[in-house]
């Protein structure tokens, strides 16, 4: 009876070890992209970090339900979006609409060429419904189908939003170039 108990607990232990390994692999593979995605959702590094931590904590708790490693990416994104929605509900009353204020964060001051910073600003200025599918495409390389599944949207809607997102970015850039040209000329 004791022997059985012991082998039972060592079974638990080795299961635990395996779970740890899976978790660490998950962190290693996805934490950077998940953080970036979170950042573009909330446009605040520290909030993004909080959400990512919460996301991985939840991921750990339900790691056993993740059967398909290939689905891990979209699984994590789903958890993160839910986590963000939860945060948004909590903070609904004390957030400022980011579109009304100029987006400014520490990465803007970081090194990088002017255009990079400019794009960063413009991306931040896109409305959420345009930015989110675009970011999924850029960061995770998702196809239109994958994005529409992830966001629970019609594929045509997704394609239209992607088109409008890039279109707005191009137009904004061109406008700026013109302005710059006029100022220089």
């Amino acid at each position: 009876m004791f022997a059985r108990n012991r082998s039972g607990s060592s079974q638990v232990l080795s299961n635990m070890k395996a779970k740890h390994k899976r978790y660490e692999a998950l962190v290693n593979a996805f934490h950077a992209d998940i953080f970036r995605y979170a950042y573009w959702l909330v446009k605040d590094r520290s909030v993004a970090e909080d959400i990512v931590q919460e996301t991985f904590l939840r991921a750990w708790r339900s790691l056993d339900s993740l059967n398909d490693e290939k689905a891990a990416k979209s699984w994590l994104i789903t958890i993160l979006r839910r986590e963000n929605a939860r945060r948004f509900e909590r903070k609904q009353f004390d957030t400022v609409d980011i579109d009304d204020v100029s987006v400014h964060d520490e990465t803007q001051d970081a090194e990088g060429d002017v255009q990079d910073r400019e794009l960063h600003r413009l991306l931040g200025g896109l409305s959420d419904e345009y930015r989110e599918p675009l970011v999924l495409q850029l960061i995770f390389g998702f196809s239109g189908d994958e994005i529409s599944q992830q966001l629970n949207l019609n594929k045509n809607t997704v394609m239209t939003r992607l088109f409008r997102a890039r279109n707005q970015l191009r137009e904004a850039l061109e406008r700026q170039n013109e302005q710059r040209g006029q100022a220089n000329g």
Partner: protein, 234 residues
């Protein structure tokens, strides 16, 4: 594919592999040019989207999970310890209360009669007054004279009370005499009985004495003999 549709498709996905888009690009150099520009632009976008990841984030994520797990484990084990402590405490209190509850000794004396039956067998030598008194001395008492044909004299514990047990052969049959030192928490019933035996007690100043005999035995004489002959010093 017209210009606008082509642009829409490219904007939506610059890395598209749709055959009609590719065919349209092959047929039109301007479209190819536009596509290449878009690919270039997308590279920049990808670069711009790649914000720096906090250096310690990875370690934090791994650490927080272990810490969280440890906290859960600790909480759980704290719960267990608390539970165990509480059970131990309850058992302790319960046992102490049980141990200290007033002991009713009549039943114990009757139970002892069974034991006395077997005890008797291996003591063939009769007991004399000196032996009885030697043992009784520890209770501060003595007999002035023998109370009959004493076969056995031995200490025994009635519940938690150390008592002196004498087995006496009388014309009424075997009788047991228990000398129980006076103790605040000991209740000695005046009379008690079971199917086989019955007993009566004599309350004295320093001790209670119980006399137990067969169901039909008359204990009066024995009681009288004891009260007449036993003395307790101070």
């Amino acid at each position: 594919m017209d210009e606008l549709e082509f642009r829409r498709r490219i904007y939506a996905d610059p890395e598209t592999t749709d055959s009609d888009v590719i065919a349209a690009a092959k047929a039109d150099e301007n479209k190819r040019k536009f596509w290449n520009e878009q690919k270039q632009f997308d590279k920049q976008l990808k670069q711009a989207v790649k914000v720096d990841v906090p250096e310690d984030l990875k370690h934090k994520l791994i650490w927080q999970q272990s810490a969280n797990e440890f906290a859960i484990y600790q909480k759980r084990s704290r719960w267990y310890v608390a539970m165990a402590a509480s059970i131990a405490f309850t058992v302790g209190i319960g046992f102490t209360m049980w141990y200290h509850q007033p002991v009713s000794i009549g039943g114990q004396a009757l139970a002892h009669m069974q034991y006395a039956e077997t005890e008797r067998a291996h003591t063939l030598l009769p007991v004399d007054l000196e032996q009885v008194n030697a043992k009784l001395a520890s209770f501060g008492g003595s007999f002035t004279d023998m109370i009959g044909d004493v076969e056995v004299v031995n200490y025994c514990h009635l519940s938690t009370v150390r008592s002196l047990h004498l087995i006496v052969d009388t014309p009424q049959g075997k009788m047991s005499v228990f000398i129980v030192p006076e103790r605040g928490d000991v209740r000695v019933p005046a009379e008690f009985e079971d199917k086989q035996y019955h007993g009566e007690s004599i309350k004295m100043h320093h001790a209670n004495i119980m006399v137990v005999g067969n169901k039909d035995a008359d204990l009066t004489e024995m009681k009288k003999a004891i009260t007449d002959r036993i003395h307790f010093s101070a």
